[in-house]
Amino acid sequence: MTPSTNRTRALAALVAAAGAALPAAPARAAVPGITGPSFHLVASADFVSQPDGASIYAFGYGCDGAPAGFLPARPNGAQGPAPTCPQTMQLPGPTLIVTQGQSVTVTLRNALPPAAGNTSIVFPGFQVTSAGGVAGLLAQEAPGGGTVTYTFVASTPGTHAYHSGTQADLQIEMGLYGAIVVLPATPPGGCVRGPFSLAPAAYGHAATCYDREYLFQLSELDSRIHDQALAQVQACPVGPCPAIQAVTEPYHPNYFLLNGRSLPDDMDTPYAAGYPHQPYNANPHMHPGEKVLMRMVGQGRWQHPFHFHGNHARVLARDGNLLLSAADGTSLAGPLLFTTPTVSGQTQDQIFTWTGKGLNWDVYNHRAGDGSRCIPDASGYHAIKTDPNAGEWCADHLKPIPVTPPDPTIVAIGQWYGGTPYLGIQSTGSFTGTNEPPGTLNQNPQAGYAYMWHSHNEREITTNDVFPGGIMSMLLIDPPAWFIDETL
């Protein structure tokens, strides 16, 4: 028996509550968004929830009427909630999905409370023209109750940010930001679009093909600013009102967000009913050998060093500009990183993969005579795609794990531990299971490999002084036979 300290008790309670809150089916993620090229957005106010139970007053962009459509398409077998776009606001704003070359129009209506004043959108990286609204410093603005329309050509593929250009220190903090995804007009031949992907490739370059994609918008939130804004809005429900005077410096955020949510909410389902104003999650999954496109966006004010466990990633582009070698104009030139520092307003596209190459032990725990096989392709990976070990690194087939694991009674078991050092459900003598004590809380019933993806400025993996939380999620590398439903 282990006595519980205050901190341990709080942590245990949080984890238990998180377990209770999570759905029975494991959650996944994709890059959900709305399609255009004509968008009608509304800026308004509402409350967003955080895992510590706080309800925080926020501004955000939402849909003004029904959007033209939603992506990604839902393939057969998808069981997640139907996509929606709040008619008030969402945090972050709707992800706008368009195709390279399209003329994009965004009509913004200002439904913010009177004290909030004007609002607007800037689209870094695009040449924008405006119609309607009133003149502002960084962009044409929509006055209270009014509208403004922005038009630009989505000239380059890739990931871009958008955010308010009005009283930015307050309005961005309050939540007025989002992402734009521009799909390549001419994907390279030979690429196959994954069932939940937006496109077969990130750019019109063969090296940018991918199997799955996920969006990561990193931001932070200082609830004291939001409280000040709420108080002033409530003090003047009907205009004309004095402008909100919130103290935004010095800046001390106590919440840290991935796509508007913190762990463990960010591992819940996208479009989950429990987060009506935070539709997007951040819960990547993949199979061994798959290429995962990571669309990274720095929102908010701070830089965040986002560390992805498991492997490096290859940087393809920054701000939608593909990075190619000056020597031949064709070879990729972006660096290999294991930690990507996000910068406010900057985006980075990168591809992550995992193969298990070179571990020197069989991650599937194959034994001689068990009927398994590993037939190497030209690169050394198992070539039979329908086998349960598709993509296995054949040089390690049948090799035993080189150390003796510790006695199970002397270790603490993690919620995403698969029960054994191996990938996939293991047959352990007389039964097949996860080898964990009865009652163990297990978020990984498929016994995949879980890797924490998180800000490495580690205080940012807390939620209002409680660990775990904040900018943290798990990548799950699921066994090849496990169906990944990215709508869950």
């Binding site: 490096h312 924490m452 660990f467």
Partner: protein
Amino acid sequence: MHRIPRLALLLALGLSATAARAQSFRVQCPSATALHPRACSGGTKAGAACSAASDCPGGACAPDARYPGQIKCQEVGGGDGFATMADGHQIYLFGFSPLSGLADVQAGLPGTQPADVFNLGYLGPNYSSAGAGTCGGGTNAGEACVTVADCPDVTGTCAHAPNWAPTPNNGGITEPAGIMDMGVLAGNAPAPLMAIDEDDEFFLTLSNPGMIMRPDLFEQHTVHFHGYPNASSYFDGVPDASVAINIAGSFTYYYTAPDAGTYFWHCHITPPEHLQMGMVGQLYVRPRQDRLGPNDALRDALIAANKRAAVDPSATGLSCSDLLCTGQTPAPAVDTGARGGGKYAYNDGDGSTRYDVEYPIQMMGFDPNFHYVGMTFNPEPFADMKDKYFLLSGRGYPDTVNPKAISTVAADGVARPAQPLPSVIRIAKSQGQTRALLRISDLSVTEFTTLGTVGIPMTVIAQNARLLRDLAGRNLYYDTNSLTLGGGESADVILDASNVPAGTYYLYSTNLDHLSNDAENFGGMMTEIQVF
């Protein structure tokens, strides 16, 4: 009233029994593996496989030199300790203690050892007796002693524990009593330095002796090898995704050496706490290019290595066979004709990362308020964390230029070398040295920091343990006077003093508030570059 003491006593007995049954320190360091077998060297059986010297009449049973790399081992303890900040204040640590390689660690070197050295076993002082032995005879019989001079009677001897010696060797501590003795209150800042070579296998044992200053915590610890490619989640050290070792247990992590570069390691239990409290260290991998000689063409060797890694017989080896260059580096587009014989940061194939001296430097920060809370029994304020000690490898200026280990007297009255790493950079042009490699990693948990130089430029050759080169083989190194890193990032910098006059230069944080040791307003993240 009388019932309470009885109940407490019964509870204590029960807990004690439970703890006794659960104790399972176990250090693993095999002397041979399938990748690194042993063979007879010399004698009539030279070259034959062997397990012991008796298999090799007239020769020795040694690691088979025909297999590249070696088995390397290291042991660390996860616990607590104390360090001294440059303003003289003592600070409480959660820390990793060295339980092997102590001679090297205390000399500021990596504590990683070949298996044969590790398995010699520990010889050295022990902390609990502070080096004391017992006079074994004469008129001083039974009295404490350190050397025989303390037992002046001609028939006296000073008898120590069997593994005692005046100074430590590099053997591993494998006995539970030794692990507790040398692991308690022995946390280092930064954590023990680790270094391996490409083609090595690395067995890293984490033993958990507990945190004596925090008997209220039953803290697990883990090791996360930050940046390890194609990692297994089992050995990735994330307690949520794997398992974490409890007090009185050991976990042996296993790694095949990844691609060369500057990585780092840290505990992954409650990282905002354990990293802030000091459980961070650097780990670097030396390239196999270091093993080439003057007759070996670097580019040819790299192309051959790329081909081996590609497996595909049609691979040219000129570039990478997969998007992440697993086990590969693009061959340089320009063939410089460079040959081996030097020390290199990466398998560059063109000699461009050659260096004469190397310095691992870890950027860190400590928040003294948080450390005080961590030493007491109070809730921890993560959002308001504010570092006020800004450190390079566990020290602030001017301690950064102190060439010796810094010892701190802990709560038990024993001084331990808790801060073994100076970061003074010395380039002896008079001895033919011109190029210094700075292996820089940032393990701050709060802020991005910029390091600058004045008078001597930096060439950044790598980021995140990967050479800056595009897939066409073009070097993307850049010259600069500033380097900005956030937590969890690393970079390799070459300082070239060829055209720099002798003198003292500085590497310092250009975040000027980071040039302080708490209220002492000059110091912090700064060190000297001495060119002579």
